[in-house]
């Protein structure tokens, strides 16, 4: 699957986009966040306060219990501030 990071999540992870295989045992967004945090470094910094991280799967806003599959496009970003 494709994982995207925007705004300060991009800066903290040092990544704007990466291709990943759904890690073993990960079934939903919360599981993926835990797995990404486990990488340490910029990833644990980016997800340190999960309450301020928003997620979209296939370009729709979702909650962290949203189920994932390998073809998904998952995006992590802060609360939006457009307009």
């Amino acid at each position: 699957m494709k994982v995207l990071y925007f705004a300060w999540l991009k800066e903290k992870t040092g990544t704007s986009q990466e291709d990943l295989d759904l890690p073993n045992g990960v079934t939903d967004v919360a599981g993926l966040v835990a797995w990404l945090k486990g990488r340490g470094g910029g990833y644990s910094a980016a997800f340190a306060d999960e309450a301020v991280v928003r997620v979209a799967v296939n370009q729709e806003h979702v909650d962290t219990d949203h189920k994932l599959s390998n073809g998904d496009e998952v995006a992590f970003f802060p609360p939006v501030t457009g307009g």
């Binding site: 370009q59 729709e60 806003h61 609360p79 501030t81 457009g82 307009g83």
Partner: protein, 150 residues
């Protein structure tokens, strides 16, 4: 209609085009968001807008569709810019046209309120202290919630 673009737009021309050739329109209401030169006590010299290409268009189209489902509208327009903008520059334009003013006013207000909490844009401000990402405001969430009431 929605547009996501780096360059500026001409509000007068946009309004003319939006309402041209439709004489069922009795009124059009529009809102323009602009870059301020301050944030709290800090002076802002520029702002950079990042967005999520693909999702941005999808969300703006969904917001526009929702407005048409709620009010009898003849035409709507959302333009949102991205990239580096300076104080005084236009960021966003929303407009709603209808046979009567009430629908036009309400839909215009709804479009900008929903856009602010649903469209994936992020602002980074440049101030004397450095650059920092703008934090979302609770008042924006409250403004969106208002439209969820029955």
């Amino acid at each position: 209609m929605i547009r996501v673009q780096e360059h500026d737009f001409d509000p007068g021309r946009e309004l003319e085009q939006l309402t041209a050739d439709n004489h069922a329109i009795g009124g059009v209401c529009s809102f323009i968001g602009m870059v301020r030169d301050f944030a709290g006590d800090a002076e802002i010299s520029a702002m950079t807008l990042e967005h999520y290409p693909g999702m941005t268009e999808k969300q703006l189209e969904a917001i526009e569709k929702e407005a048409h489902a709620r009010w009898p509208l003849d035409a709507t327009l959302i333009i949102h810019r991205f990239g580096r903008l300076e104080p005084g520059e236009r960021i966003v334009f929303v407009a709603a046209a209808s046979a009567h003013r009430e629908a036009a006013f309400e839909a215009c207000h709804f479009l900008i309120d929903w856009l602010k909490t649903k469209a994936p844009f992020w602002k980074k401000e440049s101030a004397p202290s450095g650059e920092h990402w703008v934090e979302a405001k609770a008042s924006d969430d409250a403004a969106t919630q208002r439209w969820n009431k029955p």
